[in-house]
């Protein structure tokens, strides 16, 4: 079983890298589309098989080595990454067909887009199965390099602004996280653990309680604060609404539904490994603090009328906050809620982003997605699910997190979470009723793009 898992993990990361190289060599846009679609199916298959094995292996990790750690948490993220990555690759031709311009010529831009997309996907697949903190950091940094150019793919001024902000702010955040990793490395060396293996997840778990407390706290706080910039937690979230709204829709889906929870998984692994040294209370306070701040910062924007993708971006801020609060509560119910939330949010959010893709009309113009019945329905389903209206899985997950919080004794934080969730719910339902059901002039259907770009032959 372990050998099979190793082979599948190699394929899961290796195949998208191979696809990145192959699509780079494509000579025509059509060739790039065909290679992209085929490679996406080929990549998703081993990823989903590995996810199934990890999820059905019981409480023990499927693989627990120096380079690879495949446990149930990896399984959830691999499944989400496989499904959303596949969907994004499959809908990409629809985006590229109508993308008016990019930094490059039409032929080059197709090849380039797929290469960057598959490189990004490969890095996203590798993060949840990496068995070492420092290697995981390298992989997260690689996701920034691969995705920053995709964010500004359209080449427009606003997209450039979003991409540049994303690149600089997340890289700075990751520098702070790297500093935290080095601090932990120094503390490990002081306890007699040297070299790369000192930063393996299981080595950290076994040594955390023997590290000097002040040092491990410094390292932990630096790591979590640094990762917060990449997760998009408030108050270091400035890049998030811009990047998610300006990126091509398939990339926005990957950013919101996969990248943010994947980095969140690493923050959780750090918490899990170092909490014995840091103290459960302090670790929980940091997570709950970031979580509540993110939900509260997002709420005013959920009430505000704004372009569709920007609304979804602020909803991502809210949902990453909810997940952080759940991880902070850390009771079995809350963790179960986090798992349901990661999966439900991924499906609902990606559906929302794909619904913003325009549909080519018969006269070669491009219809705004909201003007298309199926897309308007998809937007409605996405909004209702994200708001957490029953029977949305996000209703179940939020309920589990809240009940889990009470069970863990975080009454005040839990009450604040409930009030914030209610306000967020009302904000999104307000957007649903005003802009999707009533379809008011200037509503979401007509406000596809943050820059107000007309949808005649061009798209977000």
């Amino acid at each position: 079983m372990t050998e099979l898992a190793h082979i599948l993990a190699s394929l899961t990361v290796g195949l998208p890298l191979l696809a990145a190289a192959l699509t780079w060599l494509a000579r025509t846009p059509r060739q790039a589309d065909v290679i992209g679609r085929t490679a996406a199916v080929g990549t998703a298959a081993p990823a989903l098989t590995l996810a199934t094995l990890a999820l059905t292996h019981g409480g023990v990790p499927l693989v627990d080595g120096s380079w690879l750690l495949i446990d149930r948490a990896s399984g959830v993220l691999l499944a989400v990454t496989g499904v959303i990555g596949l969907s994004s690759a499959l809908v990409s031709p629809a985006y590229l067909r109508v993308a008016e311009r990019s930094w490059l010529s039409a032929t080059a831009s197709h090849s380039w887009y797929y290469s960057a997309l598959f490189a990004f996907w490969a890095a996203l697949m590798a993060v949840p199965v990496s068995g070492n903190l420092a290697v995981t950091w390298l992989l997260i940094e690689a996701t920034t390099a691969a995705s920053a150019l995709l964010v500004s793919f359209s080449g427009r001024r606003e997209a450039l602004e979003a991409g540049w902000k994303y690149l600089i702010l997340t890289t700075l955040g990751l520098s702070v996280a790297l500093f935290g990793i080095i601090v932990i490395g120094v503390a490990q060396a002081g306890s007699g653990h040297h070299g790369l293996t000192a930063l393996d997840w299981h080595a950290l778990v076994s040594a955390a309680s023997s590290m000097p407390r002040t040092v491990v706290i410094s390292g932990f706080v630096l790591l979590i604060v640094g990762l917060a910039a990449k997760i998009g937690w408030a108050p270091v979230h400035n890049w998030l609404p811009d990047a998610h709204s300006e990126a091509p829709a398939p990339v926005s889906a990957l950013l919101s539904a996969v990248l943010l929870p994947t980095v969140l998984l690493i923050a959780w692994r750090v918490n899990d490994a170092l909490a014995p040294g840091v103290g459960r209370g302090m670790a929980a306070t940091l997570f709950i603090g970031f979580g509540l701040a993110s939900i509260l910062v997002a709420i005013p924007f959920l009430w505000k009328r704004m372009p569709w993708k920007r609304l979804l971006a602020y909803s991502s801020l809210e949902h990453m906050g909810i997940i952080a609060v759940g991880l902070g509560f850390a009771s079995p119910l809350a963790i179960a809620g986090v798992i349901v939330h990661v999966s439900g949010h991924a499906v609902a959010k990606s559906l929302g982003f794909y619904a913003s893709l325009p549909k080519r009309g018969s006269d070669a113009t491009v219809e705004v997605a909201g003007g298309n019945g199926a897309n308007a329905v998809a937007k409605g389903i996405s909004l209702v699910a994200l708001a957490g209206l029953p029977p949305s899985p996000l209703f179940v997950s939020e309920l589990l997190i809240v009940v889990g919080g009470f069970a863990a004794g975080y009454t005040v934080a839990d009450l604040l979470t409930v009030i914030a969730l209610a306000l967020g719910f009302l904000g999104l339902m307000h957007a649903f009723l005003e802009d999707v059901v009533a379809d008011e002039p200037g509503g979401l259907a007509g406000r596809e793009h943050s820059s107000g770009m007309a949808f005649s032959g061009s798209t977000s």
């Binding site: 390099a145 700075l172 790369l196 002040t214």
Partner: protein, 205 residues
């Protein structure tokens, strides 16, 4: 690593907050990376062969990044100096205050390297200040490199800092990020005619 070398590295980082010319900024970063690399080589005697590899990696950074930055500077000529958002003294004061605050807040990490540790965290914060207070895209990129040099200083100067494989990976990632950022700087110049990021402020809620 001697305290003189560490002071020079810190001083070069602070000097970056003062300069406006991109060529001078690149020269300061080159000098800082070179000093860091010399400092690492002075420590190789008492360390393992793996540490020697880490030092060679740092030396490579001293050569590769300035070459990349020089090429970028040549490709993106600025007709005139980008107006500064704040005066040089206020930038220096902000960077120094943040650096001192961080040095006071971070407890000793190891038994040996108190000054090095404080200098390293100070460099990370100086890098963040440069990014926050400078308008030219290339200067913001230099701020990133200062922050990374802060991490490298801690990694090489304090025993047990970072394995050479990770140093190698971090260098690869940094070169990748700088290359992507260079592509951005070029495109920003193409669209705006300048590298002034103050003009990239269209996205507001």
């Amino acid at each position: 690593m001697s305290s003189v070398i560490v002071t020079v590295i810190l001083g070069l980082g602070l000097a970056l907050t003062l300069v406006r010319r991109r060529s001078v900024g690149i020269a300061l970063i080159t000098a800082q990376s070179l000093t860091l690399s010399i400092g690492a080589f002075t420590l190789t005697g008492g360390r393992s062969a793996a540490f020697l590899v880490a030092s060679i990696v740092l030396a490579f950074k001293t050569v590769a990044l300035p070459l990349l930055l020089r090429a970028l500077q040549r490709r993106t000529p600025e007709p005139r100096l980008v107006p500064a958002a704040r005066g040089p003294l206020s930038r220096l004061a902000a960077a120094s205050a943040l650096a001192l605050l961080a040095a006071a807040a971070i407890p000793p990490i190891s038994h040996t390297g108190g000054y090095i540790e404080h200098a390293a965290i100070a460099l990370v914060l100086i890098g963040i200040t440069v990014v926050a207070t400078r308008r030219p895209a290339l200067h913001q990129l230099l701020g990133l490199i200062v922050a990374e040099n802060g991490c490298s200083l801690l990694a090489v100067a304090v025993p047990g800092g970072l394995a050479y494989l990770i140093e190698l990976g971090a260098l690869f990632d940094l070169v990748l990020i700088v290359t992507v950022a260079a592509a951005f700087v070029q495109q920003i110049h193409l669209v705006l005619g300048t590298g002034n990021t103050e003009l990239l402020r269209g996205l507001r809620d």
